[in-house]
Amino acid sequence: MTWPLLAEFQDPATLIAAARRLKGSPRFTVLDAFTPFPVDELHELIDVGPPRIRVAMFLAGFSTAAFAFGLQWYSAVIDYPINSGGRPLNSWPVFLLVPFEVGIFAAALAGFIALLWTTGLPQLHQPLFDVPSFERSTQDHYFLLAKGENEERTHALRQLLRTAGALRVTEVRAP
């Protein structure tokens, strides 16, 4: 049984260079990276699957807006018709205001839920938090998580990470 290795780097450039080297070799898998700010180059190197956040936002936004419009229409035309200053019962231009507002809020809320869903948050503790100095991933150090298929390759991976400039390489023994 082999475990993934967590390598700690001092700056993003070294991390990206190391990730590129690992990516170029079929023997290793780059699992994830942890950085104190969003490093755009890492998206090309680490595959995290398609983002579905905007789809959720779109669906929630439009369905909530449609529901809000339907509610106004039903209450103003069917259930509680009132002649207000001679305006038509179905005053649809005015009925667009509320759907717009709540639709945008619903889209935002759905986006937030989708963010939690796709990232697995909230997960207040995870095994990586036990790695010494991992707390610097939210401050000033850059971490790369990678895996070799077997013992021999893991050994080679450790060597490669060291030569690529890792300050520290830790084996993460966690399920």
């Binding site: 700056d11 993003p12 994830d32 990276a33 942890f34 950085t35 104190p36 700010f37 969003p38 490093v39 998206h43 680490i46 995290v48 699957g49 983002p51 956040i53 905007r54 936002m57 936004g61 509610l71 106004q72 209450s75 103003a76 259930d79 509680y80 009132i82 207000s84 305006r87 005053s91 005015v94 009925f95 205001l97 509320v98 717009f100 507002e101 709540v102 945008i104 809020f105 889209a107 935002a108 809320l109 986006g111 937030f112 963010l115 939690l116 796709t118 990232t119 948050l121 909230p122 997960q123 207040l124 503790h125 995870q126 990586l128 991992f134 707390e135 991933s137 939210t138 401050q139 000033d140």
Partner: protein, 455 residues
């Protein structure tokens, strides 16, 4: 107090006034003030805000107990300070999200140092604004009638009423702003979780950070959500203040029934909000030694925005007067004359001075460079914008179609309470915020520093 990130006026990069800003330095510069003793100034400010808080609570209690007759409103001038407050506060509340979202979408990286506290300003201001219509209802216990819910009276809200639009606009906008602010706060909460030494801090920051660890997937999801929310936020902000404008424009009163009102209100909101951002930025910069992060260059850019907005405001006022004359209706022409020479004329001239004349000083680079001048002009703009809002209410209602109904508003001590006391409440909330949460977005600053090759 010494600054962690030494400011250097001679530094070449425009948005970080130092020679080097490594990740450590940025993190420390922002978090150190939160973990050390707040110091005399903060306690003094808190102590100063306390009586205003008490005053606000007392004023609210008195209005709830005696109803809105304690104000100067009467059967002609049915709207008063609460409505002007509502428009003013929500105007300030609009600016934070608008500034942050618009600058994010236009890739203005200098937003990094101002977006966080501008958004916090939004939250507090909108929360205060949301109280005002409820107070003004006179029967606040029935405020929930604005919501559609199955009830034994078989009633529904009147969807054609501006009050109902307000309800949905405020509630959607407040919750949206909260989410927008929180999403970009999560990474910084994680930094705070990992830096604080107190157990309570670790538990609280840890719980709100949701277990953030800055993985590629998390960053990508967060960025997508944040950018998409920004794109939705800009039209939302414009619609919210347009709806506030419609409260007036959807009526049939002279001086209110104007199609210019929605855009004119949005510009006014941005104007007063930016002025409030200057006031808060100067306070934070000075109180937390962040001269290297909130630079003179930032203040210069904001001053230019203020100048531009003041010109648009002047144009809006002028087009109102022109349309009053050009439209030819007697009531409109008479109202414009009343604005310039009637009961509230001194206030009206003061408003023009504060909003249109005084900000022209910002044409001069020396004025934009002077922090004292900038502070004074920003405060003047906020006063001027409040005067604008109260005068929109007073002038029209005091000088409607029926001369026999012309009255003046008699300002009472409880009106004054509603002008001044909410400011103390706002200051209290803001003081709490700067002690508990990083007032500057750290990850945005790190990104900026790396882009500018300063890390």
């Amino acid at each position: 107090m010494t600054a962690v990130l030494e400011p250097d006026e001679a530094a070449t990069a425009p948005w970080i006034s130092a020679y080097r800003a490594s990740d450590v330095e940025i993190t420390q510069a922002v978090t150190t003030p939160l973990f050390r003793n707040p110091g005399k100034v903060w306690w003094l400010a808190l102590l100063l805000s306390a009586p205003f808080m008490a005053w606000f609570v007392a004023a609210l209690g008195w209005v709830f107990y005696r109803a809105i007759g304690v104000w100067g409103v009467n059967s002609t001038i049915v709207w008063g300070v609460a409505i002007a407050d509502y428009v003013w506060w929500i105007g300030i509340g609009n600016a934070g999200t608008l500034i942050s979202a618009m600058l994010l979408l236009t890739r203005q990286r200098w937003r990094a140092s101002i977006n966080r506290f501008a958004e916090a300003m939004t939250l507090f201001a909108v929360a205060i604004a949301g109280l005002m219509p409820i107070v003004h209802l006179g029967r606040p216990i029935y405020a929930y009638w604005l919501a559609p819910y199955p009830n034994t009276m078989s009633l529904w809200p009147q969807w054609r009423s501006a009050l109902v639009w307000d309800f949905w606009a405020i509630i959607s906008y407040l919750l949206f702003s909260l989410l927008f602010w929180y999403v970009s706060l999560i990474p910084d909460l994680a930094t705070m979780r990992d830096r604080t030494k107190s157990r309570t801090g670790q538990l609280l920051y840890g719980a709100f950070a949701l277990g953030w660890c800055g993985s590629v997937r998390q960053w990508r999801a967060m960025k997508i959500l944040h950018t998409t929310m920004a794109a939705l936020g800009v039209p939302l902000v414009c619609s919210v203040h347009s709806i506030v404008g419609l409260d007036f424009a959807a009526s049939l009163m002279p001086g209110w029934q104007e199609s210019i009102f929605p855009p004119y209100f949005v510009v006014g909101a941005m104007y007063s909000g930016f002025a409030m951002v200057v006031v808060l930025a100067l306070a934070i910069r000075w109180g937390f030694d962040l001269q290297a992060i909130i630079t003179r260059e930032h203040l210069d850019v904001i001053a230019r925005v203020l100048l531009m907005s003041s010109i648009v405001m002047g144009y809006s006022y002028a087009s109102e007067w022109f349309m009053g004359w050009y439209g030819g209706a007697r009531s409109d022409r008479s109202l414009v004359a009343f604005e310039f020479a009637g009961t509230y004329a001194p206030l009206f001239w003061a408003l023009l001075g504060c909003n249109v004349v005084l900000p022209q000083a910002l044409w001069f680079p020396r004025v934009r460079g002077s922090l004292v001048a900038l502070f004074a002009i920003s405060v003047a703009i906020n006063v001027g914008m409040w005067l604008e809002r109260i005068l929109i209410v007073w002038n029209t209602l005091s000088h409607g179609y029926m001369p026999s109904l012309w009255r003046a508003f008699h300002f009472t001590i409880w009106d004054l309470a509603f002008v001044i006391a909410p400011l103390g409440f706002f200051a209290f909330l803001f003081l709490m915020f700067v002690r508990l949460i990083s007032a500057v977005s750290m990850f945005d600053m790190r990104e900026l520093a790396h882009r500018e090759d300063m890390a």
